[in-house]
């Protein structure tokens, strides 16, 4: 396995210490626990998946919709697509769904893996690998995708 790249293009650098949304707008501080929350069932309510966006935590789907080892895509109101993943240890990850090498919105359909402890998704088109923790491409130091903070939260049914 290749080692982690050392350089990130300006403007794409994830916030130190954790995943952060990309773009000009700064992430709104929130109570999220970020990448790494277990997605187990909690008593007395439905477990939902939430993404931290510019305007705060937004619920995107039920936790039950995720399959360990695979991803799903969500469409945000502004047209952005985010790929959500659940790994076999129960950790949640979210990165942009667009494969920057081909332009196709397919990263959610890639296979998960881990290399040197870093979880990644391999693009189903040309197989480049992207770290799920911060979106950097493991096969090309010049490329990365946005990463999002994600959590599972108990939400009372509407």
């Amino acid at each position: 396995m290749t080692t982690a790249p050392t350089r990130q293009p300006a403007g794409q650098r994830p916030a130190p210490g954790g995943a952060a949304p990309t773009g000009a707008a700064a992430p709104a501080p929130g109570p999220g626990t970020g990448s790494g929350d277990p997605a187990g069932t909690v008593h007395g309510g439905t477990l939902r998946i939430q993404l931290l966006l510019e305007d705060g935590w937004r619920t995107v789907c039920d936790a039950a919709r995720l399959t360990a080892g695979r991803g799903v895509a969500v469409l945000l109101p502004d047209g952005r697509q985010v790929a959500l993943f659940l790994d076999r240890t129960g950790r949640l990850h979210a990165i942009d769904n667009r494969d920057p090498f081909t332009g196709a919105s397919v990263l959610s359909r890639g296979l998960l893996g881990s290399a040197d402890g870093t979880p990644f998704v391999a693009s189903p088109l040309l197989k480049q690998r992207f770290a799920l923790t911060d979106g950097r491409c493991l096969d090309d130091d010049e490329v990365s995708v946005a990463a999002y903070r994600i959590r599972a939260a108990e939400v009372r049914a509407a």
């Binding site: 080892g69 969500v74 332009g103 998960l112």
Partner: protein, 916 residues
């Protein structure tokens, strides 16, 4: 070639006279225009070529003009492997000479123009063409000639010797239409020649004067073991028998032989292989000293009685008084002569690879050969001539194995003879002269009978010579790995030349390199990926034997240390998924690829049961077995394509591909197709794709079998079979081969009597014609063989290794595969057939299975939070009355303005439509 510097003497010019002015005999001997001295090599055999390489290594090709006069019409070739011509090697395969080597070093090679005369006073060589070349240094490497005993009739038509490619071609030509042949001489070359004659289909006799075969190398008991084995192969051996006369017919052709025991032997041709004699005539004629029994006398530096003239190889009598007829001593002499010339020229052996001995004082005549398929080896004091030496012997006449070690009084190994199984030669020979690390009796016993302690190369001292052809020690090989960074056997061969001679040491070399890499902490990693240290084949066996049905179970129990408990990766997940799918019925696992954990292992194509295309849309291929389809079904495909706005194209596998489907459209498309009787074509899987067919006997006036029916039967039998890579097949109804079956993984071609089965074909980037596995098979036999072949491939191939690559990689190649699947040499055919029967009976259409399961259908959405919304980045534009992906839409990189809040209905503007 700068011929202008040579002198072609006018008729009447005095041989050996003063040099003509202006010729290259001018300044003062043979120096060329740039003033470089000239070195002339006479003879371009194996030793001559080795000498040229040594010159180049020592930098002498730069300081000298090098001219080579060769008798044969082709550059140096591997005479030791001459017989391999009859097993398919071409003369080009045998070549030892890289034209780039000669050109790169400015070596002038004159083929078919042997030296005829040497004038030592004038220092010139005259070639047959009349060309005169002056020399400063002359090296004779004229080799030897076959000894033909002086019996009457020996010049008759049909008498041959066995020495050159030309001899071999002549024998082959003459043997056509003839029935029998005899070889005079039962030594090393005689047995080679006998093997060649038998290979040409002749009833073959061997006539040997000595009381046993290979009298020089093996002792009496070893000869007896060899005799039994060779007679068992159908050759007739006459030992202790001399040849008195070759009988000749009225037409001047050989009719037979009269032997010393008074008997007569009818034979159509005779090959003399009764030993060789040094070719020293050129040296004799110019007054150089020669040995009593022939051979140009040389000193330890291979210098003749004239210090400007050297002699190397079989034409020379070494300083120990022996003439060596083996290539390895010849190579050492070549090195010694080159080193002596370098020393004289002042370029010295320093700096370059100076491992070669500067002197040649005698050599080991150890040999290991495979004669007529029998291993024969002898080394050191094979006959136990040393005083006080004793033998340790193991003999098994039933299996034709004979092993003898000669042990000195102090326990050291002096030599030995191995017949029938010479596997141990590589480790025993280097131990000669030392006390073996285990008792000698254990070294001769077969495995399983108390021995042999399989002596790894680690048991050898660094001084042990591993490659005796090039005199490479274990220490040099280790240094190549540890100091010169060679990481593979080919690297080490390139760097040290070890293993590039006879090749008998390559196995030991491989173990040595692996051991050295391991000792250096460098893992020789053949593992599947970063998660598994096993190969695909090993994982297959693990899964099968332990009935493992889950990826996590396999990873956590059998993965690499650091990978256990991890996620796996994009390499091992689909590979393991495929193994489990192939074995599913036998394991009691679900064969459905979207079941449970299996779903998370599949590549996106398998996950969505469709082929992902460049813009994120999918294509759909229904199965059309054998390429046969009714008009009604064709119309259904057309209607589905029209209604979903899909692009349609006929594939190379005789079916129809429907492009441009979005994830959420897939179930609806399948539903229409399944309703009409279609099923998945597995175009997305590493699985059987199509069995193509020509129209066959039913319609075609040339057809001899019903190829369409057979193609349909095969496609329906193997549909859904998951394998290491995709599988393609075809059936042709006659030898015209319109279905192109020989470019397929398994191809079937009709014959008047049944079917021929070809395997391992490939189109694509590295095309390969499939090899014939079996002929004239009945329908049932054909299917049985394909069952076995496919299951054996699935069991033993690497990940993503097509049958063509597999067949070329697997040890023993096609012959091995034929042994296993046709002759059941491993005794696994019943199991392979049972696995296939399981597959056939458990097959279910994946599309129909998915449609029947609402939970799985829920996965077929573009967005989990907006199930009805199509992916806005998947768009199409028109081209040639159909659609194509809207690539500019993808290259925007930013998303179009939000079309609508999530949850609204599909946006119509991006829907692909075709004009109607």
């Amino acid at each position: 070639m700068p011929m202008e510097t040579d002198t072609h003497p006018a008729p009447g010019a005095r041989p050996g006279g003063p040099p003509a002015p202006g010729g290259d005999t001018g300044t003062p001997h043979g120096a060329d225009r740039s003033g470089r001295p000239t070195l002339v090599l006479v003879g371009h055999g194996m030793v001559g070529q080795r000498f040229l390489e040594a010159l180049a290594e020592l930098g002498l090709t730069g300081t000298h003009r090098v001219v080579v006069l060769a008798e044969e019409p082709r550059p140096a070739y591997d005479r030791v492997r001459l017989t391999s011509y009859f097993s398919g090697s071409t003369p080009q395969d045998l070549s030892l000479t890289d034209p780039a080597f000669l050109a790169g070093h400015g070596i002038e090679l004159a083929l078919g123009d042997p030296a005829e005369r040497v004038d030592r006073a004038a220092r010139t060589v005259t070639a047959r063409s009349g060309r005169v070349v002056g020399y400063d240094t002359l090296v004779l490497a004229t080799g030897s000639y076959p000894f033909v005993p002086p019996v009457p009739g020996r010049d008759a038509t049909g008498c041959f010797v066995y020495r050159t490619v030309e001899d071999l071609l002549a024998i082959e030509e003459y043997a056509k239409g003839r029935a029998s042949g005899a070889v005079v001489g039962g030594g090393l070359l005689g047995l080679e020649a006998a093997g060649a004659l038998q290979g040409l289909g002749l009833a073959t006799h061997i006539v040997e004067f000595a009381p046993r075969l290979m009298p020089v190398q093996v002792d009496e008991a070893g000869g007896a073991a060899l005799l039994r084995t060779i007679e068992g192969m159908g050759l007739t051996v006459h030992t202790g028998t001399g040849t008195q006369e070759i009988t000749v017919g009225a037409d001047g052709r050989v009719t037979g032989m009269r032997l010393s025991d008074g008997s007569e032997l009818a034979t159509d041709l005779v090959v003399f292989s009764a030993g060789v004699r040094p070719r020293d005539a050129l040296a004799r004629e110019c007054g150089l000293a020669v040995g009593e029994r022939g051979g140009i006398a040389v000193d330890a530096r291979c210098r003749t009685s004239d210090p400007a003239v050297f002699a190397i190889g079989e034409c020379a009598q070494a300083v120990d008084g022996r003439v060596y007829g083996l290539v390895a001593p010849g190579y050492e002499m070549a090195q010694a002569a080159a080193a002596a010339i370098a020393a004289a020229a002042g370029t010295g052996p320093g700096g370059r690879t100076a491992t070669a001995p500067a002197e040649f004082t005698g050599a080991d005549t150890s040999t290991k050969l495979k004669l007529l398929g029998v291993d024969v080896a002898s080394f050191g004091d094979a006959h136990g001539t040393a005083e006080g030496s004793l033998d340790v012997v193991y003999a098994d006449s039933r299996s034709g194995v004979y092993r003898k070690l000669v042990i000195a009084a102090d326990g050291s190994l002096l030599g030995g003879v191995l017949v029938g199984d010479a596997e141990a030669y590589g480790t025993l020979r280097p131990m000669t002269g030392s006390v073996p690390p285990v008792p000698a009796e254990r070294l001769v016993l077969p495995a399983g009978a108390g021995g042999p302690a399989v002596l790894g190369p680690t048991a050898l001292p660094d001084t042990a010579v591993i490659c005796s052809c090039h005199n490479v020690t274990k220490g040099a090989i280790r240094a190549a790995v540890t100091e010169q960074g060679c990481g593979t056997v080919p690297d080490v061969k390139k760097c040290t030349r070890a293993g590039t001679g006879c090749g008998s040491c390559v196995q030991v070399l491989g173990r040595l390199v692996a051991a050295e890499l391991e000792a250096g902490g460098i893992e020789v990693d053949k593992g599947l990926c970063g998660c598994f240290a096993q190969t695909r084949q090993e994982l297959y066996e693990t899964v099968r034997a332990l009935r493992i049905t889950g990826f996590r179970e396999l990873l956590d129990r059998h993965g690499r240390e650091g990978a256990r408990g991890g996620e796996g990766c994009e390499v091992c997940k689909p590979a393991v998924a495929s193994i489990i799918a192939s074995l599913a019925p036998a394991l009691g696992a679900s064969g459905y690829v979207l079941d449970g954990e299996q779903a998370a292992l599949q590549d996106t194509n398998d996950h969505f049961l469709a082929n992902l295309q460049r813009n994120g849309s999918y294509s759909v291929v229904p199965r059309i077995p054998g390429g046969e389809i009714t008009p009604e079904k064709l119309i259904v495909i057309g209607e589905v394509a029209r209604d979903f706005g899909l692009y349609t194209k006929i594939t190379g596998g005789q079916r129809i591909d429907l492009f441009g489907a979005r994830v959420e459209q897939l179930p609806a498309i399948w539903a229409r197709l399944v309703d009409a009787g279609f099923e998945s074509g597995h175009a997305y899987g590493k699985a059987l794709r199509t069995v193509k067919s020509c129209v066959g006997r039913t319609w075609c006036r040339y057809g001899v079998q019903d190829s369409v029916r057979m193609a349909i039967d095969l496609e329906l039998r193997y549909r859904g079979l998951r394998s290491p890579h995709k599988l393609k097949s075809a059936v042709s109804g006659c030898q015209r081969e319109c279905a192109e079956a020989r470019s397929k993984d398994f191809g079937v071609i009709a014959t008047a009597d049944g079917w021929n089965l070809y395997v391992g074909g490939n189109g694509g980037a590295t095309p390969r014609h499939a090899d014939l596995l079996a002929q004239d098979l009945s329908d049932a036999d054909l299917v049985r063989l394909i069952d076995r072949f496919l299951m054996f491939y699935i069991r033993t191939a690497d990940r993503l290794e097509r049958t063509a690559a597999w067949l070329e990689r697997i040890e023993g190649g096609l012959d091995h595969v034929r042994d296993v699947v046709v002759h059941d040499s491993l005794g696994i055919c019943a199991e392979l057939e049972a696995l296939m029967a399981d597959h056939v009976s458990h097959y279910r259409d994946e599309w129909a299975q998915t449609l029947a399961d609402p939970e799985r259908l829920a996965r077929f959405v573009s967005f989990v939070n907006a199930p009805g919304v199509p992916d806005p980045t998947v768009g199409f534009v028109p081209e040639r009355d159909q659609i194509k992906p809207d690539l500019p839409l993808l290259s925007l990189g930013t998303r179009p303005p939000a079309p609508a809040p999530a949850g609204n209905g599909p946006t119509a503007l991006l829907e692909g439509t075709s004009a109607r």
